[in-house]
Amino acid sequence: MSGDMAIIKPEVMKSFVWLQTADGSIQQVEEEVAMFCPMICREVLQSGMGSSKNYAIPLPSRVNPAILSLILDYCRFHQIPGRSNKERKSFDEKFIRIDTKRLCELTSAADSLQLKPLVDLTSRALARMIEGKTPEEIRETFHLPDDLTEEEKLEPLRNTADDPRIRLLNRLYARKRKELKEKEKLKNVEVEEEPVDERSVDDLLSFINGGNGDSKSVRPPKSKKKNRRKKDQLKDHCSNNGNNNHEELDALSSKSHGDLNGNVFVASPSRTSKLRDVADDTYSPKLEFDDDIDDELDPAMKEELDREVEDFARRLNSDWPQRMQEILSLGQERRSVPVAINGNGSLRRYSRMIGPKINLRYSYCETSPVARTDLTRSLQTITVDDTRKA
């Protein structure tokens, strides 16, 4: 009997760790699995605990037996080396498909065992339950008490920053809204009238151009300087197109124009659409971080309002496509510039190869319009290359 023990014992000693949960129950766990938790690993190595039932490692109170068995499943899978990332990911995905309450308990327990990968995994899962949801939905999911008064909810969040521009624009919106409501009423009583107020856009204009000593304005000379640099990038071929938009704008208003120095509305279309995708404004407007006074506004009316503001923006920006045109035509001009070829023919070697090798650059340019000048350059070289081959 004792002989048997002598044979088995080292095995047992070596490969199992004894763990005790807060409810007093004790269990033995394969060493390599248990040691995957840094907290247990430290206990074993530093204090020599866990080697027998009498020296079971007491686990933090946040780890109950049910959660412990979940955690050990996680460790058992991930402690095996050589699994592919794909395998691990798919395991993780399945692993977190548990009810929200258990997910929270698991997060807490994993944190107490310092099992960071699991904490990250469950935290991400919990974050997904919050992201883009309304406060009501979140409260529902996690059984949060709705214990703030409406007043308190607004208090720290509403737009206290006293921005005259927003105030003015809101006033304009409000007026417009009133007008539209009137219009709607009139329509309802079948009276046709023409209440369109042409001034509204001008109002917008004058408010934006109003130059109310705005500290946020971009220093125009600086922008010009930068435009000049971009111009340099174009190797001086784009003469003075950089400042065109400023001039155009200046023509639009003789006063200073706040922070709207021409580039304001020139968002690249792709970015704008991306932004739209992201915008899921599910919180009720009055709880917005930025209070927009969109209260009880008929969507149709709102749409009309927005169209008007956008139209105005377009007017301000009418020079942008023009500018693009200029850049493109510059590219064409440069096509006729031959790539220098010197006598000994070796430069020819380099320049001829500019063509096939630009693919890397092309993709780079796609993501970074500062390098767009290089796209133009590359396009030229492609053309040069092609003509030569032909």
Binding site: C104, H143, P145, P156, L169, R271, L287, M353, K357, P369
Partner: protein, 428 residues
């Protein structure tokens, strides 16, 4: 008001603070800030998260004009910073519609007082943002990442003594500024510089482990980089650089790679191999890359014997190399035929790539020197497992047949070597 008695108990609010912070950091900042109206316990939970990432998602795009969106964004950042408590580990600004404005300068000043450790700035794409001088007084910075910035350190700049990772992308500097910044970051481990115009770079960074350069460089000299493990360089060609290479009299290979004994991975893209091939490639370097396991050479021009020599020289100096990836960029017109003089006499005959198991070649057009190189690899790699060859899109069907027939005849030093031929599907 509703009390907890008739509801199931709150299941998340009592998680430890660090866990809740972790959850909040997984959220876009806007969602994190919005948790403040959930309940009393959540009221100011977000205000201690150590990482603040301000991006396009912070302000929803309604149909209001961009000017309003911008103003909202600025005010969002202002208020988030005002309400934030505790240390700010990381501040990231990645916003597609905001340009240089005094607000940003003020945010950075604020951060410099809060001992920020990581800053990343990426503004609208059409302008350079001139970073304020206060950025250079952020002594606690460990990570700095700037996109499209104008970087002028003030004369009082003493260096970033804690900086480990530095990345300048498409940024603008005056001459010597990059080197002076590098030399004043004593523990720098990672350095990225992309899209840089015509410049000579001397890099002295005794703790550097990772280096990535991309742009139009005239000279790249790694002077003091004893710990450098990873090098990724993509070099672009301009007429000016071509002229410069013509006039070069020193060996670029030795200057760039002659002093990196700890190299584990080399990625050469675009014209970097061409650059290395300038002026008399030695058949061997003075050092061996004992740790180099993976070598990636892209767009190697096989019409130029010197470029082939660079590839072979690197192979010969890497006794433990296991994987070779490369793509050819051969100019068919310039390839008259294999330079048999080179293949018969000059290239090292007695070498053997004892650990090389995987060779992956793409954009092969079957020009004679490519074939000679392939033959050479097959003959010198006794433990080769697979060699995959992907043809160039320009290769005709007849060309591919010729290439395959020739390939079949090459002797292989490794009995287990498999050759996998992949035809580019775009060309039929």
């Amino acid at each position: 008001m509703e009390t907890g008695s008739d509801r199931a108990p709150d299941i998340i609010s009592n998680l430890p603070l660090n866990v809740i912070e972790g959850i909040l950091m997984c959220l876009p900042l806007r969602d994190a800030v919005r948790t403040s109206i959930l309940s009393r316990k959540w009221r100011y939970r977000w205000t201690t998260i150590p990482q603040l990432v301000f991006d396009d998602t912070c302000v929803p795009v309604t149909s209001s004009s961009l000017a309003v969106t911008k103003t909202k964004f600025v005010s969002f950042v202002d208020r988030a910073l005002l309400l934030h408590r505790g240390p700010i580990q990381k501040f990231k600004l990645s916003i597609s519609y905001l340009q240089s404005c005094p607000d940003i300068d003020q945010w950075i000043l604020f951060l410099s007082w809060r001992n920020v450790k990581e800053i990343s700035l990426e503004l609208e794409e059409k302008e350079w943002y001139k970073v304020p001088s206060c950025l250079f007084s952020c002594q606690y910075l460990t990570h700095l990442e700037l996109f499209r910035c104008e970087v002028h350190p003030p004369p009082t700049f003493k260096g970033f003594s804690n900086l480990k990772s530095l990345s300048f992308q498409q940024s603008y500097f005056e001459n010597g500024v990059v080197e002076s910044i590098l030399s004043s970051c004593p523990i720098l481990e990672s350095f990225t510089l992309t899209y840089f115009d015509t410049l000579s770079m001397n890099i002295c960074a005794p703790n550097l482990k990772y280096l990535r350069l991309e742009g139009e460089f005239k000279d790249i000299c790694l002077e003091n980089t004893p710990l450098l493990e990873t090098i990724c360089i993509a070099l672009y060609m301009t007429e000016e650089i071509a002229d410069h290479l013509e006039a070069t009299t020193t060996c670029n290979l030795i200057k760039a790679l002659g002093n990196v004994p700890a190299l584990e991975r080399l990625v050469a893209e675009s014209y970097f191999v061409k650059y290395l091939s300038v002026k008399s490639v030695p058949s061997k370097l003075a050092l061996k890359y004992e740790h180099l396991k993976k070598l990636e050479l892209y767009q190697v021009g096989f019409e130029d014997v010197n470029e082939i020599s660079v590839a072979i020289c690197l192979l010969v100096c890497s006794p433990n190399l296991e994987e070779l990836l490369f793509s050819a960029s051969s100019d068919n017109e310039a390839c008259i035929g294999p330079d048999m003089d080179y293949w018969d006499k000059q290239h090292p005959i007695d070498c053997s790539f004892k650990r090389l198991q995987i060779v992956n070649m793409t954009d092969m057009s079957g020009v004679p020197d490519e074939m000679e190189f392939t033959k050479f690899l097959l003959a010198k790699s006794p433990v080769l497992k697979t060699m995959s060859i992907k043809s160039s899109t320009y290769l005709t069907v007849e060309g591919a047949w010729d290439m395959l027939i020739e390939l079949l005849g090459f002797p292989r030093a490794s009995p287990q070597a498999r050759i996998i031929y992949i035809q580019d599907n775009t060309m039929t």
